[in-house]
């Protein structure tokens, strides 16, 4: 690790402007800070992308379907089904209601009971698939009416239990975004500190440059170049390490549908590439502001 850091530093020093002397610890501080922050940003990004995906997935399953199940003695089944259908057709919020025929029921049951199920011989309830419109159904009102018209009908809006989960996922996504904002702000603050300490340590150098006719932009550019480059390289390393640890995250497999979505998938990886340029941009702006401000206070 040590050897790696020094060779990295050597590359930076030759490329950055030579008039500002290599200032050991502010350089290392910047490299380390942006590497650590980029590493954290990878996880924050993974969190918000994955929870976003989870929330989308769950809320699409919430898509407004429900069922009415009618269990009644064989003689009443047809009549109650008809009554329930009539109730549904006059209920506000119902877009369509359709009685599942024998083929549909067979398809539903096949995964559990196999192909040769003697449907006629079983007391299978009748199912009505209900699709809601955007307004939604007043579930309690509907239940009361069904009770009166078709006592064997049960209205089941079975996917509603997921609603709190979708809220939780949305909240997690917000937290992830907040973490990214905080990480960005912290990086900016740390680089501001490092840059202003480098400027103070080099006040003699700055004085010499000014005395031989350097404009403020020249001096500022020299510092900005160094800090931008260091932040970029640091963030590149942090992003690589963070990405690698995401890639090697032990997979939960299909057994746990809940956790398997937590990694980065497909185009998610492209988002990581934004981290180093963002770190460089933050360093650029922070160093520029602090450098111009410091120079105005000097000679």
């Amino acid at each position: 690790m040590d050897f790696k850091r020094w060779s990295l530093q050597a590359v930076l020093e030759t490329r950055a402007d030579k008039v500002v002397p290599p200032s050991g610890y502010t350089a290392r501080l910047t490299l380390f800070t942006s590497a650590a922050m980029a590493f954290l940003a990878v996880f924050a990004l993974a969190l918000s992308l994955a929870t976003g995906r989870l929330a989308d997935h769950w809320s699409s399953e919430l898509s407004r379907t429900a069922t009415v199940r009618i269990s009644a003695p064989a003689g009443q089944l047809a009549a109650q089904t008809k009554a329930a259908l009539e109730v549904l057709q006059t209920t506000p919020g119902v877009k369509s209601a359709r009685v599942l025929d024998e083929a549909d029921e067979r398809a539903l049951l096949e995964p559990w009971f196999g192909k040769d199920l003697p449907l006629d011989a079983l007391p299978i309830p009748k199912l009505i698939e209900v699709i809601e419109d955007d307004a939604g159904i007043d579930a309690n009102g509907l239940r009361l009416r069904l009770q009166g018209e078709a006592p064997g009908a049960i209205f089941d809006d079975h996917t509603r239990w997921r609603q709190p989960l979708v809220h939780a996922a949305d909240r997690l996504r917000l937290l992830g975004i907040a973490a990214i904002v905080l990480i960005t702000a912290t990086t900016g603050a740390m680089i501001t500190l490092a840059a202003s300490s480098a400027l103070a340590a080099n006040s003699r150098v700055i004085r010499v440059l000014r005395l031989v006719g350097a404009r403020d932009v020249y001096v500022v550019r020299a510092f900005v170049r160094q800090f931008t480059l260091r932040a970029f390289v640091g963030a590149l390393v942090g992003m690589a390490v963070g990405g690698l640890s995401m890639a090697t995250l032990p997979s939960a497999g299909d057994t746990s549908g809940f956790l398997s979505g937590m990694g980065l998938q497909g185009t998610d990886w492209l988002w990581l590439l934004l981290i180093p340029p963002l770190a460089a941009l933050v360093a650029f702006v922070a160093t520029r502001i602090v450098a111009f401000r410091t120079l105005k206070e000097l000679t």
């Binding site: 008039v19 010499v208 404009r215």
Partner: protein, 225 residues
């Protein structure tokens, strides 16, 4: 246009005034010496001239522009026309001598115009010290390097604060002849020095005037030198 013009200028570091109500013009192409006892304010006066200090009263005009009203960029552009040998010879200690000497070109984005570097370093006797770092140089070598840096840009106005303080008599004359040569090319020269012999030698070659600081005032020294 006058190179520099001081009108009723006063300056003091704290409450005590060091220079009081000083007025002076320096014409282009002139050659001036500045003398006075140690601590009389020679360096202070020169710092006013190269825009390192702002007068506490009165006004200073350099190349026709009032110093107090210059922006920071204008100060930088004006300094590129003034070559300065500072008494304490400030360098960038991490850069070799040759890069220190060409620093004024570098900061002015004219780094490619260093064709005179070799000749200049030879003249000041530093050709074989090119790659030495400033802390490795002797006091006299630093002064010579400072002079080389001051004139690398071929400035209109050369200000030298004790440029021969640490060198032997032979080298002093060599440096002086360099400044006289520049003066003959039309450059304006202002040198602060204690060395009366140097002033005498110079006066035998150019029409040099001698200014003296006495009692917070700037006087033109007469033939009594």
């Amino acid at each position: 246009m006058r190179v520099i013009e001081l009108t009723n200028v006063s300056y003091g570091y704290g409450d005590t005034e060091l220079l009081s109500d000083v007025s002076l013009h320096i014409q282009p192409g002139s050659f001036h010496f500045l003398t006075g006892p140690s601590g009389s304010g020679k360096t202070t006066f020169l710092r006013l001239c190269y825009l390192d200090l702002l007068a506490t009263a009165g006004q200073i005009t350099v190349f026709g522009k009032q110093v107090a009203e210059m922006t920071r960029d204008e100060v930088a552009f004006t300094r590129r026309r003034i070559g300065v040998v500072h008494q304490d010879c400030q360098f960038l200690d991490h850069l070799p001598l040759s890069q220190n000497v060409t620093l004024p070109l570098e900061v002015a984005d004219r780094a490619d115009e260093d064709e005179n570097l070799g000749e200049l370093l030879t003249w000041v006797g530093l050709a074989d010290r090119k790659s030495a770092l400033p802390p490795q140089l002797s006091g006299g070598e630093r002064q010579r390097a400072a002079l080389a840096r001051a004139i690398i840009m071929s400035p209109d106005f050369v200000i030298a604060d004790e440029p021969t303080g640490n060198v032997d008599w032979e080298m002093s004359q060599r440096l002086l002849s360099l400044l006289i040569e520049l003066n003959k090319m039309g450059k304006t020269i202002l040198i602060a020095t204690h060395d009366l012999n140097l002033i005498r030698v110079a006066k035998s070659q150019v029409a040099a005037r001698v200014l003296r600081i006495r009692d917070k005032q700037l006087q033109l020294a007469g033939a009594d030198l």
